[in-house]
Symmetry: C2
Subunit: 345 residues, 2 copies
């Protein structure tokens, strides 16, 4: 792949993509000839562009327009060309400091991350809440709410909390729930949340006796909720700033799709084993997003991936910057979360 194109073609393609990312309008040979890196006459450039078109990297809206890069070009650009623009020290500092200050609640940190991502990039951001199942139980409280329902409040060693409404058997009141949760705390503290069900059940079985079934159901309910991860989408309306979405119809279908969150959640929860993924245009198997690119990156607690975040923008997005921001943000968020974890061992 790398040596499909000679150096000069590469350079020209890069310049075209760079220019198009900036202006969103077809790039002509004369424009390129003024580019400092390219010391060639327009005619020569035209020949090269003609080649690049034939090779499938460029497209022409009409005969007398300049060239527009297509997905193949962006793919090459992302894989081989772009220099991962590093952030300015200011930006790095901005991210670090704003993520460090208020770490009291995990949910807040996630929201803040999403806000910053979309704020810095001017695209749409999406952040997945961290997986709880690998966290360890620090404390659980069962609180009777109404006859037949109770609230389970789980605190993990990373300091995050989780609420789950549970159905409980009729007649099980606050007293019994307290007894049960005391038992759970005694036996399960320090276990991983996704191990609780199988660990706890045998331990409890003899103690809870006739209510074993009910307890089992409750644990099921808790387990189901532990698996759940939410997505935080911020800045969808940013897209209205780009000429790609000056058509209200397109804007509407984009917003509808993104706000449903379904596709983004799917993308963020599929773990393809890679830290950073770039999905360009139709590489998204979602027709509504065929004019968009989605860049995702995972974040960790300790050495373990626990969630991911991403940026959605037009295919003509500033890949270099987005990648740099995501990496920095992932690093920062991982640190913050891991720090939380350590401080409560």
């Amino acid at each position: 792949m790398t040596e499909l194109l000679d150096v000069r073609k590469m350079r020209i393609l890069e310049a075209i993509v760079d220019d198009y990312i900036l202006t969103a309008s077809p790039v002509g040979s004369r424009t390129l000839s003024k580019h400092e890196d390219i010391e060639l006459s327009p005619a020569t450039i035209r020949n090269e562009m003609s080649d690049l078109t034939e090779l499938g990297f460029l497209e022409q809206p009409h005969t007398s327009a300049g060239r527009v890069p297509n997905e193949k070009a962006y793919r090459l650009y992302v894989n081989n060309i772009m220099d991962r623009a590093s952030l300015t020290p200011d930006e790095t500092e901005y991210i670090r400091s704003h993520l460090n200050t208020k770490v009291s609640e995990v949910g807040e940190v996630i929201k803040q991350t999403a806000r910053m991502l979309s704020g810095i990039t001017n695209y749409t951001s999406v952040v997945l809440t961290p997986q709880m199942k690998r966290a360890r139980l620090k404390h659980i409280s069962l609180i009777s709410v109404t006859e037949g329902s109770a609230l389970a409040v789980i605190v993990t060693n990373s300091g995050s909390t989780m609420n789950t409404m549970l159905d409980v058997p009729k007649g099980m009141g606050q007293k019994q729930l307290e007894h049960l949760s005391a038992l759970m705390n005694e036996r399960c503290c320090g276990y991983r949340l996704d191990d609780i069900r199988k660990t706890l059940l045998p331990l409890l079985q003899d103690e809870v006796g006739e209510q074993a079934d009910a307890v089992m159901d409750m644990l099921e309910g808790i387990s189901a909720d532990i698996e759940k991860q939410d997505v935080e989408v911020v800045g969808a309306t940013n897209m209205l700033n780009y000429p790609e979405y000056s058509d209200v119809g397109k804007a509407r279908s984009f917003l509808t799709e993104v706000e449903s969150g379904d596709y983004l959640k799917r993308v963020l929860t599929t773990d393809d084993g890679v830290e950073l993924t770039v999905r360009i245009g139709n590489e998204n198997d979602n027709p509504e997003l065929r004019d968009c690119s989605v860049v995702t990156v995972s974040y960790r607690v300790g050495d373990e991936k626990v969630g991911s975040m991403g940026v959605i923008g037009p295919t003509r997005m500033d890949y270099g910057k987005v990648v740099a921001v995501l990496k920095c943000m992932s690093e920062s968020l991982s640190n913050v979360l891991s720090g939380l974890l350590d401080s409560n061992k």
Copy 2:
């Protein structure tokens, strides 16, 4: 006000508003002459329309266009003309049934209400979460989360729950927090949440001794959170379906404004003593919403107002339907919430 206009003018104005609500394009005399209620020639109607324009109810985009109703017309329409379109039995039934099924969590009910509001009306809906301060305490749990912070979980007699992160003095661990919450439960159960602070403090003062200040701070924290009401905004992108927002710039500023939620929250939390309020265009003291109308209605638990909800649409909204839907929805939500309350007395 009522008798500013004679019957015929009223009827013509009504027809104009009705037609404009439907089509969003200026209404001409010929169109009106075909209207079944109006047995007049175009010429006569033109005279009347000319009068209505002079009286300030209609406007003309340009000489050879039809007439467009303005805010004054809508105001008259809302106050004196529109027959509050009653919902079809289907719609009423739909609202009742969908709000009754899943009542497990108050937050869910509110979200569902917002979704249905915007679904039925095709406008943007906004629902305020119910005030907690008038609810009565059923149970409180204090759970240690990290060194220095704890989670307070409050369950009210209406079955709703509330979480608040609190700063606690260093060294106060789970044991002490449990002791404290046991004390609170014993003393404060059944009290109104907004009375707890002043009720509890004297009672506790001698018992908590040296930690009185810290407890005081915690109560402050809880009180502050009790006051908080959130807004749930759904269907903002619905507005992109209306020609008023075929301009992306307008769409963007609308979406930005609405999604911030600031103005809507202010509108929903100001209690003007009236059950139902219609704010037309510039009656909203928010320039971003000068082309919108906001209709709000309060909902109750028992006889007490505890929250409100609203619909935002273009000034050319179907006021009759919106008012009918809101009234029905408020009624249903009030019933559901009051039912929850009663069932736990």
